[in-house]
Symmetry: C2
């Protein structure tokens, strides 16, 4: 069978996340149905990871297997003609049969957008977390050195199986301020636990507000207790930027 890698972009606002769920519109289902309609085959699309409801993706990766001999260019055009305007397949690539979109991930980059201003935004309403209190960028920057590296991130994990390792490696974290009111936090890691990116952001925002100190993060990590970390930032500020293989 042919093994095809997908790179997809989506606005998660109107979807119940990536993973198929009975009776709810999800991105996996939408892609599977579109590919199925073009190829006439029953396909399963395996994503690099699940994104939650309302989370966006600039470049989500996935793979699927088909027998159809249709060329990737025509397949891409066909799928995109069926997809609604808030989802698009940017690339299809023929892979060797062992490529697996989830198992082969080297790292993923997420970006979290914060709109930091006294009044809410109309243009970023679905794409950024509105934080009213002024955030101290310098304090937030000091969190990076604690977060970077290999740690047990249990304190930043929403729901976990008790026997699963929560050790992950954060390769890079940085904050970009594109304009005075917009802050973008980039996190690259070899893997993300459930809600990990959003809990890190929620905790960093509490640091930025002065409710916690940057050095508190060491204690939070060491505690391995979700109750110790900050709030889970809302989903609509989160973007899956890149999946590296």
């Amino acid at each position: 069978m042919r093994n095809i890698k997908i790179i997809a972009e989506y606005d998660g606002t109107n979807y119940h996340g990536w993973q198929r769920q009975k009776g709810l519109l999800t991105l996996q289902q939408l892609l599977e149905e579109s590919i199925g309609q073009i190829t006439g085959e029953n396909v399963t699309v395996i994503g690099a990871g699940r994104t939650d409801a309302r989370v966006h993706a600039h470049n989500q990766s996935a793979h699927f297997k088909i027998n159809s001999l249709i060329g990737t260019r025509n397949l891409l055009l066909g799928i995109n003609s069926l997809l609604p305007t808030d989802v698009v397949v940017k690339e299809l690539k023929e892979m060797d049969e062992v490529f697996h979109a989830r198992f082969d991930v080297k790292s993923k980059v997420y970006m979290y957008q914060i709109h930091n201003a006294p009044v809410r935004s109309a243009l970023y309403r679905d794409y950024a977390w509105h934080v009213r209190a002024p955030l101290d960028l310098e304090k937030m920057n000091k969190c990076f050195s604690v977060l970077k590296g290999t740690h047990d991130f249990s304190s930043f994990c929403g729901k976990k199986g008790s026997d699963v390792s929560c050790v992950r490696t954060i390769k890079d974290v940085c904050i970009e301020k594109t304009c005075p009111e917009l802050m973008r936090i980039f996190i690259e890691a070899d893997g993300f636990l459930r809600y990990m990116a959003r809990t890190i952001v929620g905790t960093m925002v509490e640091v930025g507000m002065g409710r916690r100190m940057p050095k508190d993060l060491s204690d939070i990590l060491a505690a391995r207790d979700r109750g110790r970390a900050g709030i889970t930032a809302p989903p609509h500020g989160l973007f899956l930027i890149e999946v590296k293989y």
Copy 2:
């Protein structure tokens, strides 16, 4: 009467532009109704200029007059509580009685966003013009020197009264490339004719595609004939960024 300046942000996707139109939802009407509901007065909101249907604004300016003694902070909170999430008043400011949001404009800054990639974008679908053909940034940059300064912009004006002057001064034009696929054209002028920003962008895109030469712009300007310029870029890529007084 009190004279109050408004700065408003809106996502123009769901509106028939700024100006009141019978039977169509517009931003002027929405603001007038919200202010009217809070103050109990019949208000007219005078915008710095009209934005077309689907055009967005980060900072549209306007003014209105009221007798009500309500404080600007409470008025702002009240208006925003009535507005839908795609419109927001960012600032209200007490002005002296002679301030006029349209007549007193010194200059306006528009930004036009182009998504330049072979495949359409899901995330920019309502916020950028999708141009498939690769654009030559260097050629587009060469248009600036011709456009800057005081000219008769008749060739870039959609509909005009025959007796109205089409002389305007472009104070600045520049292109910013935030990422390989996204191009932002900024234009600052003392005034914009109907469709002027969008026709300049449409013509510059034709230059970027190699269909016209940057130096052709001099002839187009001199002709004072709308038929000579390029296409009118679609509205949804256009953002009113700032109104200067």
